[in-house]
Amino acid sequence: MKERNSQEEFLSAEDFKNLTTEEKILLISGGYSVPDKLAREEAYAELVQKIKAGTKAGTVSHTSGNKYLYWGIAAAILLLIGLSVFLGQKDTVSVLACKGTHIEYLLPDSSRVFLNADSEISYSRSDFMDNRSLQLKGEAFFETRKGTNFMVSTQYGKIKTLGTTFNVNSRADFFKVSCLTGKILVQSSGDSLIVADHESVLLSGNKLSKRTEENIEKSISWRFGEFHFEDRPLALVFDEIERQFDVTVEASGAEDRFFTGSFYNQDLSEALDIVCIPMDLKYEIRNNKKIIISELSE
């Protein structure tokens, strides 16, 4: 905390008149202090009272084994469906990243796709060079090579580009596209928006809303094991925990809440702490696989 210099308190009318609005703002706001604050010692005494009285019933209880899920890049699972040599018939390639796995995949045109856990892309192998189009379920980051139209189709909308980098997150009840470089076109629910670098679109209700992101890299921090949430419905945060750690989360009545914060996918308990503690929830890990979430007061 800064020390206030008594010299600063003297201010002449002349000096003040000569300041720009901005300088006035900086000066006057610098002289503010928060009113009626309880002294620290008193506040601490109050806290100690509460602790002794055990006013906050309930504990954060953990029951867990010793094993932690390891993070690693697993091999891609390629499923070739319907190989065919007949004209007119397509051969579909599907690339699936399981729960607890991230995958990097090279498309036939050398574009790169980075799949988040529990995500899948599929495309036509014979058609792709002529028509760069693929389907996505889940979340992926695309580094597309410049060229002809490149299109990503998801359940909520389509993304079109000529060669840029962007992140698509299409899950149940959630659709967000972030553009890192270049420009992309996002079409959803009849809306069509051009999204440029450092911008993102989010589908809320039936409308796409665009905004500028201060820190666009946050939208792909998942690739480095960091998951950031801003006002995200808690159920969706638990969904992501399920995906990243390959566990199931049972959270009854934890809805209607919104979480802002970050977790890392290195340590399940730490991630659960970070989400549950601020939300007044406790968790129980059974057999390393199942997480039961309940209210702290239960």
């Binding site: 009318a13 703002i25 009113p35």
Partner: protein, 178 residues
């Protein structure tokens, strides 16, 4: 209060003790209370939320590490505010050394300062919460951009941007351009 000890990863040193808890309180009480006041404009609410936050920390003190405690404090506090308390209109009543303690030079100047102060406090209440809290953490608490970035878990660039946005909003509001 039941705590079940568990083994954690290799590099973890288990929990914080009572001394460290008290030290944490002494270190962060002011900053955290101010932070919540900047968000809500309600000093009583700020005090309650800080208490709740530290109570939570106490409950899990054997599980957390002292260096993660800092961002955990801010995360817990802001989530409590966001989820549990309705957003009433924010009205500030900052104490202002320039209008309270000064030797009056002239009644006109005093008036001018009071008026500026009122407009500024009103404009601050009109700022978006994100921009406002960063601006006040810098101006009133004197925190560096780096400190603010660490407390809130955002980048320094994000802090710069919020400061810039806050400044231009305040300037326009005071010059009555918006």
């Amino acid at each position: 209060m039941k705590t079940i000890s568990k083994s954690r990863g290799k590099n973890r040193s288990a929990g914080i003790g009572e001394m460290e808890f008290e030290e944490m309180f002494n270190t962060w009480y002011d900053a955290l209370t101010n932070y919540l006041y900047y968000k809500s404009g309600d000093i009583d609410l700020a005090r309650d939320i800080v208490q709740e936050t530290f109570l939570k920390i106490w409950e899990i003190k054997t599980e957390i590490r002292i260096n993660t405690a800092r961002s955990l404090l801010y995360t817990i506090a802001s989530n409590i505010y966001r989820n549990k308390y309705h957003h009433q209109k924010v009205i500030f009543r900052f104490a202002n050394t320039y209008t309270e303690k000064r030797i009056s030079e002239s009644p006109e100047f005093e008036m001018e300062l009071k008026e500026f102060d009122q407009r500024l406090q009103k404009a601050l209440a009109g700022l978006s919460e994100k921009n406002r809290e960063v601006f006040l953490m810098n101006r009133i608490d004197g925190l560096t951009y780096n400190d603010i970035a660490q407390n809130l878990g955002i980048s320094i660039k994000a802090v710069e941007k919020r400061m810039k946005n806050a400044m231009s909003f305040l300037r326009n509001k005071i010059d009555m351009k918006i």
